[in-house]
């Protein structure tokens, strides 16, 4: 009886993962179709205006300031879209979306990603693919914000019936226990769901989570999730 209930709960969790990705997709699309086009168009016009105002330094300065503000707003939208846009989970294989994420991380942060992907990795079930993608994204963001390392290493491989993802760096490291305790009661902060969120995703899919870190000793995170 309990087993049946567990299986049902797990199936519901999996559906929820796909649903939240669809919702993200819709929000990103709204941002794309609305504010992005409007601000980009407004900036084009303003830059024309800025040139036309060359003879009036005060007015030109105001226009330049408006340009800077709008560029900043666009930059924030860029980061938002970059973090939330689902990467075509249904069209691309696991390896491709991971490669895409590595390229995106390097483009956005200028921090190098050393990627180890076996050619015969193949594909996996959608909930696992979503989880691997979001976990890697969070791990890379953490590594960029906190590690102080110039590069991170990422490897993805098949281990029997599981997909294993390892993200590591030789940066400053931390005490996992303290960070996890601190995150216990924290909700979604700044669009990132932290180590606790990674653990939750792993548990939802019945996988395993290993975190090795210590101050001054770098960090290595490994998760294993059922491929199917």
């Amino acid at each position: 009886m309990t087993e049946v209930r567990d299986a049902e709960a797990r199936a519901a969790s999996r559906r929820l993962l796909a649903t939240s990705e669809r919702e993200l997709q819709r929000i990103v699309l709204d941002m794309h179709d609305g504010p992005v086009q409007d601000i980009f168009a407004a900036l084009s016009q303003l830059q024309v205006l800025e040139r036309a105002l060359a003879a009036d330094p005060t007015a030109a300065q105001r226009a330049a300031q408006a340009v800077r503000l709008l560029e900043r707003a666009l930059g924030e939208i860029r980061n938002f879209i970059g973090a939330f846009r689902p990467p075509g989970f249904e069209r691309r294989e696991l390896g491709q979306i991971i490669e895409g994420l590595a390229v995106q991380h390097e483009t956005l942060t200028e921090q190098a990603v050393e990627l180890e992907l076996p050619g015969e990795l193949g594909d996996c079930a959608l909930p696992t693919k979503i989880a691997i993608y979001r976990i890697l994204q969070e791990a890379l963001a953490n590594g960029h914000r906190h590690s102080g390392a110039t590069r991170q290493r990422v490897s993805v491989e098949r281990r029997g019936l599981a997909i294993a993802l390892t993200v590591s760096d030789d940066g400053r490291g931390f005490e996992p226990r303290r960070v996890l305790a601190r995150e216990e009661d924290v909700g979604v902060e700044g669009g990132h769901f932290g180590l606790r969120g990674i653990q939750d995703r792993v548990e939802m899919l019945g996988g395993t989570f290993t975190l090795e870190s210590a101050p001054g000793r770098g960090t290595s995170l490994t998760v294993e999730l059922p491929a199917e």
Binding site: H32, V36, Q37, D38, F40, A41, A42, L43, S44, Q45, Q47, V48, R51, V67, E71, L74, G75, I77, R78, I81, G82, R85, P87, G88, R92, Q96, I97, E99, G100, L101, A102, V103, Q104, H105, E106, T107, L108
Partner: protein, 203 residues
């Protein structure tokens, strides 16, 4: 004079870019459309040097438009203009054979710069995407390439223009042009993007 065609679902974006580009002495907006299915016909009619194309078109996929343009004997250079700077759009733009990618979430000035760069024969993609263009080791080049042509091929794949290649190899511009023409015909490709993709994928 760089003749540009603008294709974007959003009329306000076209209006803004037209205003911006028309203020540049070396650029002329030859045509524009909000309907992606119109692009090939307009290219036929106006023969632009550069097509600035949104990938997210409603009536047709941007990548299909690029593919259709690639079939022409003298295809225009294509600069993809998109709001998305993730691996997905980079990959799509590269695979379709675009010469560059500019972002709607960056200043329109960047688009302006990118138009000039692709017109000059550069491949305009973020540094990180180079792993898809040149980073793949292994594989052998087609057997009948000369060592010089292989060298030129690697540099073309790295996004260098003919003058840059000339400087790098200590050759004249004309000699490089000659090597590039031979390289393209031996590889069976029409342009630098195709040569770069071939370098990345098969070799």
């Amino acid at each position: 004079m760089i003749r540009v065609l603008l294709a974007d679902d959003h009329a306000i974006v076209i209006e803004g870019l037209r205003a911006l580009l028309d203020g540049e002495p070396d650029i002329k907006v030859a045509a524009w459309t909000t309907d992606g299915t119109d692009v090939v016909r307009l290219v036929e009619q106006h023969k632009p040097d550069v097509v600035v194309l949104d990938l997210e078109l409603t009536n047709i996929k941007g990548t299909e438009v690029i593919a259709a343009l690639r079939e022409r004997t003298a295809p225009p250079r294509v600069l993809v203009l998109t709001a998305y700077n993730d691996g997905e759009s980079l990959r799509s733009a590269l695979d379709a054979g675009a010469e560059g990618l500019a972002l709607k979430t960056e200043s329109p000035q960047q688009t302006l710069t990118a138009i000039r760069q692709v017109h000059a024969g550069q491949l305009v993609f973020p540094q990180a995407a180079r792993r898809w263009i040149e980073g793949r080791a292994g594989g052998g080049a087609p057997g009948d390439l000369t060592p010089r042509e292989r060298e030129v091929w690697a540099l073309v794949a790295g996004g260098l223009t003919n003058p840059q290649i000339a400087e790098r190899l200590g050759l004249s511009d004309n000699t490089v042009k000659f090597h590039v023409q031979h390289l393209f015909s031996k590889l069976g490709v029409k342009n630098r993007t195709e040569a770069a993709l071939k370098y990345a994928h098969g070799r």
